[in-house]
């Protein structure tokens, strides 16, 4: 019998090792570039070298003459439709009349070797009439030059809450205003984009590195003019995605599929790093104008925000990404009067799209910077201020979403303060900084976030997931879901959920990679939704199977079904644990009794109601919450920065696997630290200059802080075992808390991210010289 102290669960909540660790460690995992097929051709995209221009002529003849070239395809060779846009139809698969960013593909070649393909790509000639490019959001907003005939506004989200905003500011005790800017961030997955397309059964099969095989299926079907059922997508082991492989791989898969389909040979298309950096989507750069009013009691009473986001030359996922910005720009706070305008704008730069956090780390950085300014100015405690304004059950967000359940924000604030030993550290740092002989300045920074789970109001129609579970007669179990393992640990967490629900041992489970021929469209592996969506879909299938197994066990043990308990490969008599039948024997029995042990599962995200005109309603069904505290140290003379420690407290509902959850937080911290103080994508006149790993610099382990992660488990009624998501929240508070810490150390709120040593040094030198002057006076 279970004692009260024991956990109810035997697999869920446990530190289970990653089920895919072994194959990765021994080098057995097969990534797409490891695949080879007979007669396989290699493809290479030919890309625009100018940011904007009309195409006058494309000449393939020189490339076609090269020995070993199998084909050179341009827009006119597309058998289906020349469109790739995932939500808005504004992007061609291959540029036909115009190029809109430097790097836009207008042709794709296939050849017998990678080298020949490279050479042939250089022999495809194009004649342009160059046009003046639109390179800034301000220029785009002015609409002097139109990137697309319909105008430059990709989307404009409004949030209007409460009184007339200007009147509201009139009632504020103090009003703060500041404009922030933030640069691109590149995903920099270790494995670049790639796929292999095979003509098969009058249709096409595509292997690749994807976050959403179903988007790829749709794009290939459109480009080839084939029914979906003739397009099969098989997921390979993925070397990182971070949002960069959500919709973007469709562009490459459709090209490879087109070549394979017409040339009737397997075609492999793998991007090299430089091309990947040049053409694939990035995190949106933004210009963010913030105005915040606070009352005498330290409550935020008014917030006015205007964000201009650089969407680049095509929409890709901008409309959904920026929808998220519009929900999250006010942070996890209760603010009675709000006016927000989030405007996505076309420019002649690389398209921006999905990236871990989906348009929120930028606005969180701006909002949390404002709070830092306010606390410093009014001498308020950063935790108390946040708590006083925090969302809690019964309170409503800036979109007037009344929070009904699973809201552990205040606990994360308390935990972050305690676990970071903030108060002791603050005293130590103040003393350190007062000592002028010290070479460095130290600072602490805080940031809190909330994050809507799943696809929300803007993507509810995609928000479903399927699963398939098959129990073989020897008790081994095959699982297939529609969301992908891309390094985040999905297979392990989902196997834990299935194992708990089926009462089988985790070792009995074999997880297959996504196959669109087996599971129904399950939407993308994004929005921190996989544990919840695929987890619930698996539970649906597992519960059906469990019923059958329980009935069989009851029969074997000669007890009633409600007296059966299942756990770790055994079905017990609840009253006598010595009386049991093994999972294996049950599977064998069912097989002989002709009881089918194969089930489909399906789950749909809870429906939400939202009014896009006013930006009011329930944008998401539930939120994850987090608070992070950073400790940084800056060199007074060089401006060099070091993030020494981060303490992150996350409310993610039930923690299915504490080890993986901590690892997720560590990964988010590393990526966030890079974004905050290091990663600097330089572009000049519409050309990205940092096209390699030695110029687009991300942190090494030596640059990463010590990470302490703690969890608050305010369970969500709709999550599997009460779980919510963590994939994106792990990164989201990082930039803001690091920048706040740097700002507090330097005594200057940094208005641009990344905060580089050059800028810190400049700020500190200005301060020094003004201090020197005042000494003279």
């Amino acid at each position: 019998m279970l004692t009260k102290k024991q956990s109810l669960y035997s697999v869920v909540g446990k530190k289970v090792n990653r089920v895919d660790a072994y194959e990765k460690i021994v080098g057995g995992a097969r990534y797409v570039d490891d695949l080879a097929f007979e007669d396989m051709l290699f493809a290479k995209m030919v890309c625009s070298t100018i940011p904007s221009g009309r195409i006058k002529k494309i000449d393939k003849s020189r490339a076609l003459k090269l020995k070993g070239v199998a084909g050179v395809f341009t827009a006119e060779d597309i058998t289906g439709l020349n469109k790739i846009g995932c939500v808005v139809d504004d992007q061609p698969l291959l540029a036909k009349d115009a190029v809109r960013f430097a790097g836009e593909p207008f042709a794709v070649v296939a050849a017998e070797t990678r080298e020949i393909a490279e050479e042939a790509a250089g022999l495809v000639d194009i004649e342009y009439e160059p046009l003046e490019p639109v390179l800034t959001v301000d220029d785009s907003f002015s609409e002097k030059i139109k990137v697309h005939p319909k105008g430059n506004v990709v989307c404009h989200y409004k949030v209007r809450k409460g009184d007339n905003i200007d009147e509201a500011f009139g009632k504020s005790f103090k009003v703060y205003e500041k404009t922030f800017t933030i640069n691109y961030q590149e995903h920099l997955y270790l494995e670049t984009q790639g796929c292999v397309a095979l003509p098969e059964n009058e249709g096409i099969t595509v292997y690749g590195s994807f976050q959403c095989p179903f988007y790829v299926q749709g794009a290939v079907s459109t480009a080839l003019g084939l029914p979906l059922a003739k397009v099969r997508i098989l997921q390979c082991v993925v070397g990182g995605g971070f949002g960069g492989k959500e919709d973007v791989p469709s562009e490459y898969a459709a090209k490879a599929a087109l070549l394979a389909y017409v040339l009737k040979k397997p075609v492999k298309l793998i991007l090299d790093r430089a091309q990947d950096l040049m053409v694939s989507s990035k995190r949106h750069p933004m210009k963010m104008e913030y105005k915040v009013g606070v009352t005498k009691k330290g409550k935020i009473n008014a917030l006015k925000v205007r964000v201009l986001a650089d969407s680049g030359a095509y929409t890709t996922l901008s409309t959904v990404v920026l929808f998220r910005s519009s929900v999250h720009f006010g942070g996890p706070y209760v603010i009675p009067n709000v006016s927000g305008d989030i405007i996505g704008l076309y420019t002649n730069r690389v398209p921006c799209g999905a990236y871990r956090g989906f348009g929120t780390p930028q606005v969180i950085y701006a909002m949390e910077s404002m709070i830092n300014i306010i606390c410093n100015d009014l001498g308020l405690d950063p935790f108390e201020f946040r708590k006083a304004n925090a969302l809690k059950k019964g309170a409503a967000s800036i979109t007037s979403h009344k929070i009904k359940e699973s809201c552990g924000l205040i606990e994360t604030i308390d935990k972050a303060r305690k676990e970071s030993e903030y108060d002791r550290r603050k005293k130590e740092f103040d003393k350190w900084n007062a000592d002028k002989s010290k070479r460095t300045l130290k600072g602490l920074g805080v940031s809190s976030i909330f994050y809507g789970m799943n696809l929300g109001a803007k993507g509810w129609f995609y928000d479903k997931a399927g699963s398939h579970i098959q129990i073989c007669r020897d008790g081994s179990v095959t699982l297939c879901v529609g969301n992908v393992e891309m390094g985040q640990g999905a297979k392990t967490v989902l196997a834990q959920i299935a194992s708990e629900a089926l009462g089988c041992e985790i070792g009995a489970i074999n997880f297959t990679n996504v196959d669109t021929g087996i599971v129904p469209d399950s939407g993308p592996t994004v929005a921190s939704r996989t544990t919840v969506m695929s987890g619930n879909a698996l539970l649906d299938a597992a519960n059906k199977l469990r019923k059958k197994l329980v009935a069989a066990a009851a029969e074997s043990l000669k007890i009633k079904p409600n007296q059966v308990m299942a756990k770790l490969g055994k079905y017990y008599n609840i009253k006598d644990s010595h009386q049991f039948v093994s999972f294996k024997d049950l599977a064998g029995k069912c097989y002989l009794d002709n009881v089918g042990l194969s089930e489909m599962g399906y789950y749909v995200s809870p429906k939400v109601e939202y009014d896009l005109q006013s930006g009011q309603g329930e944008p998401y069904y539930v939120y994850s919450y987090a608070t992070a505290v950073s400790e940084v140290e800056i060199d007074k003379k060089t401006g060099e920065l070091r993030v020494n420690k981060m303490t992150c407290a996350h409310d993610i509902g039930r923690v299915i696997n504490p080890m993986l959850a901590s690892a997720q937080v560590e990964g988010g911290v590393a990526q966030g630290v890079g974004y905050a103080i290091m990663e600097n994508m330089v572009s000049e006149k519409g050309h990205i200059k940092t096209l390699g790993l030695s110029t687009y610099v991300i942190p090494t382990t030596k640059d990463c802080p010590e990470v302490k992660s703690v969890f608050v488990e305010d369970k969500s009624k709709d999550g599997p075992y009460g779980a919510k998501g963590l994939g994106e929240p792990s990164l989201m508070p990082v930039v803001a808390s690091v920048v706040n810490a740097v700002s507090n150390a330097a005594g200057h709120q940094f208005e641009h991210v990344p905060v580089l040593p050059e800028r810190v040094w400049e700020v500190l030198s200005e301060k020094n010289s003004s201090e020197d002057e005042s000494e003279v006076k």
Binding site: E119, T690, T695, V697, P699, E758
Partner: protein
């Protein structure tokens, strides 16, 4: 395009000299390959042939002579780091080489390659130049010794002739010098220097018991088309002899003005210049205290 690409693998230095005397295509040496292969991948026109010298044992030795150490051009960074006399007396060199890339890179990459690549950011170059190192350049029928300071003519450019190879680096013994090296990069490892400074200082005891500067060498990396010596700052320190606060400040200012950095994707002119002064100040402090 690698189709007509040639890789030649001479087994000895003599064979290598013969090969480069007779080869027709524009070629590069392959020592550790950590620069040449990266460049070749980015730009196939970088070379049409590689002469693989990585297995020529006679280039991979460090020898001690009466007044010099002779470092074979094929000595790997990790081997240099393990060489006792350098650990004892050439701290600046050790610090610089230990910062190159990562263990993987240092295990493959060579000192000759770092010099041959002629990047103004090449990290071993500063300390070697500060120690007045020379390089031996050999061809089939000539043999000349060039001061490292005179070897570079611009980024990626040197006085090396098409049929010459760097065989050795000759490092004068300088037991009396204390040295140090510091740099700023975009991150803490596997980073290309934005600025690097080498300082070597020699002191003598003055009759009044105080320490006087008898010898100063300063080299600056990544702040000019080649690694350079900061002659004005050196001269100033030598003339002033004692390291007062004012003298240090002045020297740091001088060094910042001697730098001629550019603004590029890694940093900017003003910062790089100023940092030469800051790093020099740090090194002076460190070496003056370490005595």
């Amino acid at each position: 395009m690698l189709r007509n690409f040639k890789v030649l693998t001479p087994a000895s230095l003599n064979e290598a000299l013969y090969v480069i005397n007779n080869i027709e295509q524009p070629f590069r040496f392959l020592a550790g390959g950590t620069d040449v292969l990266v460049r070749l991948k980015d730009n196939p026109a970088y070379a049409q042939a590689l002469v693989d010298i990585s297995k020529i044992g006679e280039l991979a030795k460090i020898e001690e002579h009466k007044s010099t150490f002779v470092i074979g051009s094929g000595v790997r960074h990790e081997a240099l780091l393990a060489y006792g006399p350098f650990i004892e007396n050439y701290n600046g060199l050790i610090e610089a080489v230990a910062a190159i890339g990562s263990p993987q890179i240092r295990t493959l990459a060579t000192v000759g390659g770092n010099i041959g690549n002629a990047s103004p950011a090449g990290d071993s170059i500063g300390p070697l130049m500060a120690f007045d190192a020379e390089v031996e350049l050999r061809s089939q029928d000539s043999n000349r010794i060039v001061k490292l300071e005179d070897f570079f003519t611009g980024p990626g450019k040197t006085v090396l002739k098409h049929n010459e190879i760097i065989t050795k680096i000759i490092l004068p013994k300088s037991d009396a010098l204390k040295s140090g090296w510091k740099r700023l990069g975009q991150r803490r490892a596997v980073a290309i220097s934005k600025v690097s400074v080498t300082l070597a200082l020699g002191f003598v005891k003055h009759s009044n018991g105080s320490d006087r500067i008898a010898d100063v060498r300063i080299a600056l990396g990544a702040v000019a088309p080649t690694v350079i010596r900061a002659r004005k700052a050196e001269k100033f320190l030598l003339e002033n002899q004692t390291l007062t606060k004012a003298v240090i400040k002045e020297a740091c200012g001088l060094v910042a003005r001697e730098a001629r950095p550019i603004t590029d994707i890694r940093s900017n002119t003003e910062y790089r210049s100023e940092m030469c002064g800051v790093l020099l100040g740090d090194l002076i402090e460190k070496l003056a205290c370490a005595r």
